[in-house]
Symmetry: C2
Subunit: 354 residues, 2 copies
């Protein structure tokens, strides 16, 4: 019988416990030092974000209990936010480092880039380095979980399909066997051997979904809802730019035109936190203020952080942001260079087409 | 000075007159025998569908005045529905056949497949044959207009980008020169030499946008809005299947992952008539009844007709509908084989992934 730990008791970490429970997998749901209220709410009978009780076989645990949470587990889902990823993964490896004979399967729900020893990298790259330092040449059994899965909908068992990015080769085969035990009728899992592509898509869909949000903020009242064409244009441009970023980063272009790309961009653009962040910016709220306001409400705007880190990260690759990723450049100007959203967005659009 | 005629005074035909007018192009807006109310409303000062007056230099004309409408024009936009396309285009060619020394530029706004002498073909293929029969070896200066442009939003001058599919070679160069005189600040035109791809995308996005509509009908009340994951999955599946159809039909796969494909699918899925048709079906209304009900309200469900014609059309190509286009097959079962929408949709989803 498989046993799992989920690190991070926010939306996605908590939502993934539903298919795990329905598969009979005993699961410890560990909350970080930011999640104490979520754990106590869950212990009282209702997860405060999901507004649902957790299911049988799911055990909420406070931040002080990490060691207990991961004791004896086979599968570890990491669902903390990108800022907490490195500290939590280091703590995790220190603890499980004591059990060198055991194989762990890691599933990363966290989206975004991380600052690892002063260098901006994909989270799985940092994790791999931390892992090998402790475990030497042991198998790194890693999966990067992509979308399109909104946590709230998953917790309510809406039919969802998701793309898991796994490493190729023998490790991939082992991981696939485990993955086959995680799906349910309402949680369909597709796998891709383009881990780089899946992970890059997950980061950039958060960034690009700020754009339709900005449109909502700018146009919902002014245009009486009649700005679907603009949103569709930005959605399309975003999917094309994501495919270019994926290629430049060494992934497969087509990954961007599948579930982890176009699919995840769709759900995030319609209903995510990053869309909400964009809407605030479109309404004229200063981007830093908007990010802080959401943070104080317990909502982490991953797109904001990812956009900040994307620029130094992209400089590692052969891609010209201004000419090849004009929408990304536009978003960066609005969010971090304080360009006026309406002027900047219309300038961008008018520069394209003929 | 360019002069234009627009055939069909419904949503899109009427909406295109705004950028034409803003470019100083005198435009006759001709209504078919179904459009008399639209013409009289427009002459009275307000287009009944767009809820806006037409602009200066736009002249509404009744169905009896086709000859006057196309007299002396250079550009002809055809915006009738797919059912009216062949009869209207034949009438048009008969009339302009009298002026054999003149070059006409045709722009097809109509979406969908047509039944031409008992064979199902793309509308531009039928038009080409009708044209050559009258004009021999004269240049066929043809453009198929793609999306993503919702007529109502265009008429309100929301920033829109659109993909025009043109023929390659010398004709293409002549057409491009004309196209450069049609754009405005709010109507940005991109061109593609993949006419087949653009036209195929425009047909199939109407079909596939029925799917999120069915979800709305099935789940909006039951799932309290929490079915974004399902819609995103269907959107993604639709874009992948459209790319396969485009390839099979001789177009370029990447056209499906650009404005005429993913972009147009986006706007149509969110706000189109086909989505509304799907919603009625999802709510349990018989598909034929839903189509008729909309028709009686003056709304033509192009997706319904296109889906009916798609099956015989696809049999011309090397593609297996059941295995390669499972969502199309599912929609066909629901709409034309009276399969129960919930059962059929969930069966389809559960057959995918692992």
């Amino acid at each position: 019988m498989l046993k799992a730990a989920v690190l991070g008791a926010g939306y996605m970490g908590s939502a993934i416990t539903y298919p795990l429970s329905d598969n009979g997998i005993e699961t410890n749901l560990w909350g970080t030092w930011l999640d104490d209220d979520l754990i106590s709410g869950s212990l009282d009978g209702l997860h405060p974000k999901l507004k649902k009780p957790l299911q049988d076989g799911v055990f909420p645990m406070y931040s002080k209990d990490l060691k207990r949470a991961v004791s004896g587990v086979d599968i570890i889902f990491i669902g903390v936010n990108s800022e907490g990823f490195i500290p939590v993964f280091k703590m995790l490896i220190d603890i499980i480092g004591e059990t060198k004979d055991k194989n762990y399967y890691f599933f990363k729900l966290t989206k975004g880039l991380v600052n690892f020893n002063g260098k901006i990298v994909r989270a799985s790259q940092a994790a791999r380095e931390i892992f090998y330092k402790k475990f030497g040449s042991k198998d790194f059994l890693w999966t990067t979980v992509g979308g399109p899965v909104r946590a709230l909908d998953l917790a309510h068992k809406t039919v969802s399909a998701t793309m898991y990015g796994i490493s190729e080769g023998i490790c991939g085969e082992k991981i696939k066997e485990i993955i086959s035990r995680l799906s349910t009728d309402y949680y369909r899992i597709f796998t891709s051997d383009d881990l780089t592509g899946v992970e890059t898509c997950s980061t950039f869909k958060n960034i690009y979904s700020i754009a339709p949000g900005i449109c909502d903020g700018l146009f919902r009242e002014k245009k009486e809802g009649l700005y679907h064409n603009t949103v569709a244009f930005l959605f399309n441009q975003a999917s094309i730019e994501i495919s270019k970023v994926v290629s430049a980063a060494g992934g497969k272009k087509e990954t961007a035109f599948n579930l982890a790309g176009v699919g995840d961009l769709h759900v995030t653009s319609v209903a995510g936190r990053n869309r909400r962040f964009g809407e605030m910016v479109g309404k004229g709220i200063d981007p830093d203020t908007a990010f802080k306001k959401m943070f104080e409400e317990g909502e982490y705007g991953e797109g904001y952080t990812a956009l900040k880190l994307a620029m130094p990260w992209l400089s590692n690759f052969n891609i010209n942001v201004k000419t090849e990723l004009p929408l990304l450049d536009t978003l960066h100007n609005i969010i971090f260079k304080k360009a006026e959203p309406y002027d900047e967005l219309t300038r961008f659009i008018k520069n394209l087409g003929s």
